[in-house]
Amino acid sequence: MSNYSKPLVIEAGRSERQYWQDLWRYRELFYFLAWRDILVRYKQTAIGVAWALIRPVLTMIVFTVVFGGLAKLPSDGVPYPILVFSAMLPWQFFANALSECSNSLISNANLISKVYFPRLVVPTSAVIVSFVDFLISGIVLLALMAWYDFVPSWRILTLPGFILIAFIAAMGAGLWLAALNVKYRDFRYIVPFIIQFGLYVSPVGFSSSIVPEAWRWLYSLNPMVGVIDGFRWAILGGQTQLYLPGFFLSTGLVVLLFAGGVHYFRAYERTFADVI
């Protein structure tokens, strides 16, 4: 009759041994929470999912005009809109995931204080929601490629790997901010700032090749640099070069960020219901 062969033990200071088993048992909740957020997002909107397309397209147009048209920055031999959009994809995903994720625990406060489930489910589904938007705006990239008759090289096959890195980066930063936000609501104001600031310090509107060689490693301390450069390398092909030391530095930081995020989140998770 019992689902657990061994009795479950609840004790102070002891993170339940069944945590990862529980996470698996609640796997459908990832799906349901993400599904709820997606359903709710476009309820009572006239054009619905089109919003997921309009926002990145408008930003891309602005960036193309400002950086490509007015500032005349180099485009590494690809159409500037494609250059911008191949970076816009991972950046928008990261930015959306970060803001959704950092607010996820607070906007689900009623759930947290009334029902048990592994709390990791909540921020993860927030990232999944942003991932769905990411896939939708991927359509725009395909349309742009078709418009400019741009044929990607074999490198496009490595794209899933970079998507994974983007996912881990978003999760890592998101977990930190979600857990911190429960305790210190200051992060509600910090996150929009990070996102706004990040857009300019990440190579979204321009190629990172304009950064002087001597400073590239320093620039790579921004974890999104590795992700965005990876995306460009995979999508644009041709002369685009991947600055490897910088890429590994970025990726290493992403992994650290994620591991730290999971650890911090797990450590504070048990007090969420009392503090939120």
């Binding site: 019992s2 657990y4 479950l8 102070a12 909740l29 599904w35 359903l39 489930f117 009392d274 503090v275």
Partner: protein
């Protein structure tokens, strides 16, 4: 023992009041400020720390008890006795400060009706969402979907967003999902206080059905008759500690002794004839006798003083009234200034439930004083029957009657 399904040992839960009450969340600035202060005054670190921690509050203190398979435990106690904290710790929402709980089996907790319902989603979508939140798998929900819908009586509105539901429909749907969980241990907080009485009865019935299937129930309620009819064990909590863990009847009467307002004392002096104090004899009440003493005072002689009394339901519906002019037997009128009027009803003909008493004072000519709802009491009938239909259906009165079966000669063919 092998059939112990929940074992709680020395469970304690501490809250820090400063954190819990005044500022529910800390601001980053405060922490930075405190840390800076601590840095600047390294030698007074301990005092700063103490200040930061605030007042401790033990919501639970050394609570120990065992629950066996199939027990239906009612958790009783005043507001703030730690009932909800206990349920929260048991359902793993919050972690204990000390102590240990061993649980064999899946726990489903229902601490609030409709947790996780999203107003924008339709009834159908919310059933799936809520089911998943409560720990049901998609196939499980699909299997029970029709049952849930018919229990909630919302067939027609399945594809309407729940924000357009009436509050009754909302609650029905929410309870229906939770009621179809199939855990070994069901933890329920005061959720039946919502919805209309018919639905409350349906919920209680559903819980009774669940309990007859051998599942274990932990139930918090302020409704004594709900506990009396559903539970067989009672856990009385007081200020975070276990006062008693016995049969539900004993636990209820222990609790009622404390909680009920069975005395009323007027706190100020009056220059008119007035009621000073009203007392109810709790010991006699447990034996089925309602005995009330009314102390009255007057600046002049009342000839005779007349005290009247109305017993009403908890909802304020008057049930019966009495005074010495109606029930004259044994009453000897005389002139008095102050004294005690005693009223006694043997074999109080009421079913178990909560009742209120209002008192009136006057004489043959005029009214002087009246106290509406002076006392509240919980009556547990000595002839308590577990299968009694709800008082909301059969009414509060327990009027003795005789029943008999006979053969009808006209139709008896096989006799």
């Amino acid at each position: 023992m092998s059939d112990v399904i929940v074992q709680v040992e020395n469970l304690s839960k501490k809250y820090i009041l400063g954190q819990q009450r005044q500022e529910r969340y800390q601001s980053f600035r405060d922490v930075i400020g405190r840390r800076t202060k601590a840095l600047m005054r390294p030698f007074r670190k301990s005092s700063t720390k103490k200040q930061a921690i605030g007042e401790e509050f033990w919501a639970l203190k050394n609570v120990s008890f065992d629950i066996r398979q199939g027990d239906r435990v009612g958790v009783i106690g005043r507001n703030g006795a730690g009932k909800s904290t206990l349920l929260k710790v048991l359902s793993r929402i919050t972690e204990p400060t000390q102590g240990r709980i061993g649980i064999r089996g899946r726990v489903a907790s229902l601490l609030e009706v409709g947790t996780g319902f999203h107003p924008e989603l339709t009834g159908r979508e919310n059933i799936y969402l809520n089911g998943a939140i409560l720990g049901m798998s998609r196939t499980e929900i699909r299997r029970k979907f029709d049952e849930i819908v018919s229990f909630a009586e919302v067939e027609k509105f399945l594809d309407t967003p729940v924000k357009r539901y009436s509050s009754g429909m909302y609650v029905r749907l929410a309870f229906a999902v939770a009621a179809h969980l199939e855990p070994e241990i069901l933890v329920v907080d005061e959720v039946l206080a919502v919805g209309d009485t018919t639905f409350q009865k349906k919920c209680l019935g559903k819980m009774q059905e669940v309990s007859t299937e051998g599942r274990t129930i932990l139930f918090v309620s302020h409704n004594s008759s709900a506990i009396a009819s559903l539970c067989d064990r009672g856990l009385v909590l007081d200020k975070g500690q276990v006062r008693a863990y016995t049969s539900s009847m004993e636990a209820l009467s222990l609790y009622n002794n404390e909680i009920n307002q069975n005395t009323f004392v007027r706190d100020r002096e009056l220059n008119n004839p007035h009621i000073q104090k009203v007392e109810l004899d709790q010991d006699l009440l447990e034996q089925g006798t309602l005995k009330v003493n009314v102390h009255f005072e007057s600046p002049w002689d009342l000839n005779p003083p007349i005290v009247g009394m109305v017993v009403s339901s908890l909802y304020g519906m008057p049930l019966f009234g009495t005074n010495p002019r109606i029930h004259t037997k044994g009453f000897q009128p005389r002139s008095m200034r102050s004294g005690i009027a005693t009223m006694q009803i043997d074999h109080l003909p009421l079913h178990s439930g909560s009742y209120k008493i209002s008192i009136w004072l006057g004489d043959n000519h005029q009214d002087y004083d009246s106290i509406t709802d002076a006392l509240t009491f919980d009556f547990i009938s000595p002839q308590f029957m577990a299968n009694l239909p709800s008082v909301d259906i059969i009414g509060p009165f327990n009027i003795p009657a005789q029943w008999r079966l006979e053969n009808d000669a006209q139709y008896t063919v096989y006799a």
